[in-house]
């Protein structure tokens, strides 16, 4: 059985340098602070097909969050994020490598892990996959202190829009590092071998 020992919480503040990213290893728990943009299915397909990022959105040195939040307007007309856990990342597997390569991404927050193309892009360009706790929408929404902007709201709808979040200490675990290691591959192989014993 794969057992990941908790070591310590490592602070990551955007923009993140390549050397910081390359110092991370599978199993490290990180706390993300700074500006984080969301992007999920519609945004990935759009960028893959050659779409441009709106002015105001920069992913360079940045961390992209696979998330479709619940956001409402408060009495003063400001956006308030009421629920914001990660969505399943594997759906972005056909596109993610290209977005890492072309936009200078240093981190992707999501859940469920990603595949070989993303693993290779992380190694080549210096990026990590950060696994949030899926379903933990309240704990993670508490880390979102401000929602300064939203882009593509009309075009893609609220869950699929690009939301700009100011986050403080959002917890996640490195499950794909920039050295070619993937916890997901490791756990799959170990669990598959284990299952064979009981069939």
């Amino acid at each position: 059985m794969v057992v990941l020992k908790w070591r310590k919480m490592i602070d990551l503040t955007t923009p993140v340098s390549e050397s910081t990213i390359r110092s991370l290893k599978v199993g490290d728990e990180v706390a993300v602070s700074g500006t984080v943009f969301t992007g999920r299915d519609a945004v990935h397909k759009y960028l893959h097909e050659g779409g441009k990022l709106p002015s105001g959105v920069s992913l360079n040195g940045g961390i992209l969050y696979h998330c479709g939040p619940v956001v409402i307007k408060d009495e003063e007309g400001n956006w308030k994020c009421v629920a914001a856990g990660p969505t399943t990342s594997i759906r972005e597997e056909p596109y993610q490598w290209q977005i890492i390569r072309d936009f200078g991404l240093r981190g992707v927050i999501g859940k469920g892990g990603m595949g070989d193309k993303t693993l290779a892009a992380c190694k080549e360009h210096g990026c990590v996959y950060l696994h949030g706790v899926g379903g933990a929408a309240q704990v993670l929404a508490q880390c979102i202190k401000k929602v300064p902007n939203v882009y593509f709201m009309e075009q893609f709808g609220a869950p699929e829009a690009i939301w700009e979040f100011e986050v403080v200490q959002l917890p996640a675990v490195v499950t794909i590092d920039a050295h070619g290691n993937s916890l997901h591959k490791e756990v799959f192989a170990a669990s598959q071998a284990e299952l064979a014993k009981y069939l």
Partner: protein
């Protein structure tokens, strides 16, 4: 808002923000079981913290507030059309209040009108009975766990699964292996043996109305339910697929007759953020009793 709409709005709010007690207990047990000082334990602690926060703030446990599925048991003569109208209004209001995410997308145009109303949303299943009782159960099922559901047609040569309970066991465990952490484990399985492709999946979802600590009336299926959970928890997939001791919190299996030519095993996966609530209503639509 009429009385029925108010009751359904409160049903949606509680389903979205509050984990039922039986599921909460299973989550606390699994938190105990995980090895201290591991990432798996850390994930379970965040889950527990999240459950408390959602309840106290009356906000969604998970941002994916899921497919909205009502199950209504009602007497003969019950006005189903009026119920459907009330359910739609309650869903619209719940979405405005942020109990539900704007979660319903036109499959062709990709447009999301923000109301959560459209073909198939919400879904209402009516079941008539002779008693005067009206009960409404609601399941909110997120997309991440829905995507890891699987349907097997037996025999399955690759998995060496024949048309018997051992074959069913093999494909159910394969579904657990394939799902890994992608469905937000530790998860709960709803399984249907038999039926056709549509009724099989539908009945597998109905299993989520059962409480986790109940027992299957069929002793063979009861054994299989326990065996699947015990075996899955030896695989080391763990919370979120991080590795660890708890992969499943429960498994519930139902059976439908099948055609001689077909033998489907349909597996639905529910995430730990198990949104299920129910109410008994009086004739005016007021809540008489909470069911979970």
């Amino acid at each position: 808002m009429n009385v029925l709409q108010d009751s359904l709005l409160e049903l949606i709010r509680r389903a979205s923000a509050e984990i039922p007690d039986d599921v909460h207990k299973a989550i606390l047990d699994s938190l105990e079981r995980e090895k201290k000082g591991t990432i798996a334990e850390s994930a379970m602690k965040i889950i527990e913290q999240n459950i408390e926060l959602a309840r106290s703030k009356s906000q969604p446990i998970c941002q994916d507030t899921g497919s909205i599925i009502f199950y209504v048991d009602c007497p003969v003569g019950f006005d189903q059309l009026a119920f459907q109208d009330a359910a739609r209004e309650a869903v619209k209001t719940a979405t405005k209040k942020g109990y539900l995410r704007q979660n319903s997308v036109d499959s062709i145009t990709g447009k999301n009108d923000g109301t959560n109303l459209g073909p198939g949303s919400p879904t209402v299943h009516f079941h008539q009975h002779r008693s005067p009782e009206i009960s409404v159960r609601l399941v909110l099922k997120g997309g991440g766990c829905e995507n890891v559901g699987a349907q097997y047609s037996l025999p399955n040569e690759k998995l060496k699964a024949n048309r018997d309970l051992d074959g069913c066991r093999k494909v159910i465990l394969d579904a657990v292996l394939q799902a890994q952490g992608k469905g937000c484990g530790p998860g709960i399985l709803g399984v249907c043996i038999g039926g056709d492709r549509a009724t099989g999946y539908e009945f597998s979802k109905q299993q989520f109305l059962r409480k986790l600590d109940d027992e299957n009336e069929n002793p063979e299926l009861n054994r299989l339910e326990q065996d699947v959970v015990e075996t899955a928890n030896k695989l080391g997939i763990g919370p979120m697929g991080f590795g660890g001791k708890t992969t499943l919190l429960g498994t519930k299996i139902g059976v439908l007759n099948r055609l001689p030519a077909s033998y489907f095993v349909s597996v639905s996966y529910m995430c730990w953020a198990y949104r299920r609530q129910g109410v008994k209503l009086d004739a005016e639509g007021k809540v008489e009793q909470w069911l979970y």
